[in-house]
Symmetry: C2
Amino acid sequence: MFDPVEKLKEFVRFPSVSTDSKYRDGMRGAQEFVTGLLRSLGFAVEVVKTDLHPIILAQRDGPATWPHVIIYGHYDVQPPDPLGLWKTPPFEPTERDGRLWGRGTADNKGPLMAHISAVGRLLEKAPSLPLRITFLIEGEEETGSPSFLPFLQRYQHRLDGDFVFLSDTGIPREDQMVITCGLRGLTLCEVEVTGARMDLHSGLHGGVLRNPIQALSELCASLHTPDGRVNIPGFYDCVLEVEPWEREELRKLGTSEAEYREFLGIPAFHAPPGFTPFEAVRFLPTLEFNGIRGGYQGEGSKTVIPSQASVKISCRLVPDQTPRKIRPLLYAAIRERLPKDVSYRIIDQHDATPYIVVPPGRSNTPKDQPARLAQAFRAIDAAAGEVFGRPPLYLREGGSVPIIADIKRVLGLDSVLLGLFLPEDNLHAPNESFNLQVMQKGSTVSERMLSALAGR
Amino acid sequence: MFDPVEKLKEFVRFPSVSTDSKYRDGMRGAQEFVTGLLRSLGFAVEVVKTDLHPIILAQRDGPATWPHVIIYGHYDVQPPDPLGLWKTPPFEPTERDGRLWGRGTADNKGPLMAHISAVGRLLEKAPSLPLRITFLIEGEEETGSPSFLPFLQRYQHRLDGDFVFLSDTGIPREDQMVITCGLRGLTLCEVEVTGARMDLHSGLHGGVLRNPIQALSELCASLHTPDGRVNIPGFYDCVLEVEPWEREELRKLGTSEAEYREFLGIPAFHAPPGFTPFEAVRFLPTLEFNGIRGGYQGEGSKTVIPSQASVKISCRLVPDQTPRKIRPLLYAAIRERLPKDVSYRIIDQHDATPYIVVPPGRSNTPKDQPARLAQAFRAIDAAAGEVFGRPPLYLREGGSVPIIADIKRVLGLDSVLLGLFLPEDNLHAPNESFNLQVMQKGSTVSERMLSALAGR
């Protein structure tokens, strides 16, 4: 068997940034690396072409009576900017303090490697294991998985699994496993406001027209109420009531608000009334500004009235909100609130539907929950309890894994989400890293669950 | 005599951007070019060192009984960004359609060349002209002239002029001269807001803290009233009442609001109530946003909650406002209005005091107006009337020439401001150009005024 940490380093060295075309070579390198690794484990691998970056479909087939688990992961990573803040280069993986540092170590190359190595060990010990396994590893997760839904529709006949298994969610501490039971969705857009047709001298023309930065600021300022809620009519209409067991489970997390506040480095939280910060991030939708720009960006000053300003907006959604319901509400607010003396353009970006699955034995567990899904939950519960030294928690998560809801809709399959990254892993930010002990523990839990599913 | 247009091309080729240290060579080249040119006209030139870019002091001395005119100009230019929007490269001057295109052609290299060539012709015709002339040409105008005030204080004894003469202001059409009788001042700052201590994943943490873009937007949105006035208590307290002759003179401008609106390319003006756009830009102060930035700036999306966001703010001031009165009001508004759950830093940038001078024979002309200043105004009036075919207009201007108020305060001298650039010259913007016929007419007016002052 290969050394998972050394293999992970190889994997991280490919700068596989899917949102930026200048990283095309890194994307191809990462894809070929995964393809080769799965072939070496005996998988039949198909590299499925898409408009952008191919999807890797690797299968270990068997009789239809065998359980069939579909393991999902992605080989693409977030852009590394701002580069200047990295302590070691993002694509030169560095092992230090029991962690591996580099872009993509935690999101999602490390967790994916935990599952690949679990499968590797399992098949080495039991080459004839009665278990069908499909790896589904895409390269467009960080751009919103535009090719994944058409892929699912086209390859539906080969994806007759019992459930999907993946690690693209988090845990609060290295001794506390979390099974994620819900994910927030997402709807994104960019708003570009134009005032005069060119940048203007602020002395010669200042005072006669509305500055597009002012128009954009007025729009942005209107989108929240002072207490931190999103100020768009109808925005909260479909938000699911939180079950008492969910709040109870969350309380067991044991992170204090003071610790969390200190981690973020903020003087005070700003969560909507009636929700702790831990609840707000999981049970409530948001509207965030991911980037704003306009006018002079250099050093010193330039007394200009910019022609344009733009803002990138994203809403995290919770069940039963959907992008289809929320996007029109957001756009209507933008259209109504931008002043009429500027022009504007709304640029659509990607979407994700929120998702919820309820583990066995809860007040709101569906009566028709499939037996193998329930079996997987129970096997994970036992394995995680042993490996991590305490029972896992069942929590909804603030992040989004856009394809989970698509899988549910197209294939009818729920997902078992084994959390593996830690708050200090700095996902989507400079100095991303992954805890190698957590990787090893996660890999063991994965191996035991798959083994149990195969009846061992 | 040299060809002014060819000399101007040489001058424009030096990329003399004073705000950005990467243009250091261009600054030195432009300074040496001007120094050489004035020496060739017989001037005694001193290059006065400053902390940043030297000031050129070039003198033609004579008996103390001779009139003494101080001609001001600057050899530095605005940054050329955004570079992609230039039709021809900013520092490769191109003659086309009777215009010279390039950064600095209109602000201020072309107008300065008009005066240097006027002096050149005058001295060629009358080498013993009884007129003292001092050229004062700085290299820090576009960064707020930080060295100019200390220079004035140190060189006061050599600057015993009758008045200052310069062209760093505009005219509405090529057949209408304007003598600028007032300038707006300026106070600038940058506000940098910090939320969490690093960029955060908007899924994992969205909904618990205030986004710095939101905090900054709320601040920016608070700084104007819906009718377009600046929303800072006390901001308008010292604004001078407009004299009826000023409004009357402005009405003679003859530009229609429709033409102006079309030139700007906006659907509607947004000037405070009670003022036409032409009045607002001259008689009222402003608060403008010159640049805003925060978070992800690249293509596509990045679902991040940025750690920081910042905005560059400038206020244009009118008599009798001063930066000393207005800056504390602005800062107090920023401090009071930014929410307490973010931290912030206000970075001081430069200042300029507004200025007003009243030409002879008006309702508010000071009784003690110096005779040679009045003589200069009358000589310009006559020369401009002949050369441009109609009497000049006497107007306050929306722009700032920060050193004019400093000269008034330190040397006690008023300034005669001969407008030379046109609205379509695109100052401070891409595709700056200068009308070469206006340059020639301005040079003739300059020559006649200087000649009259010398008693010819």
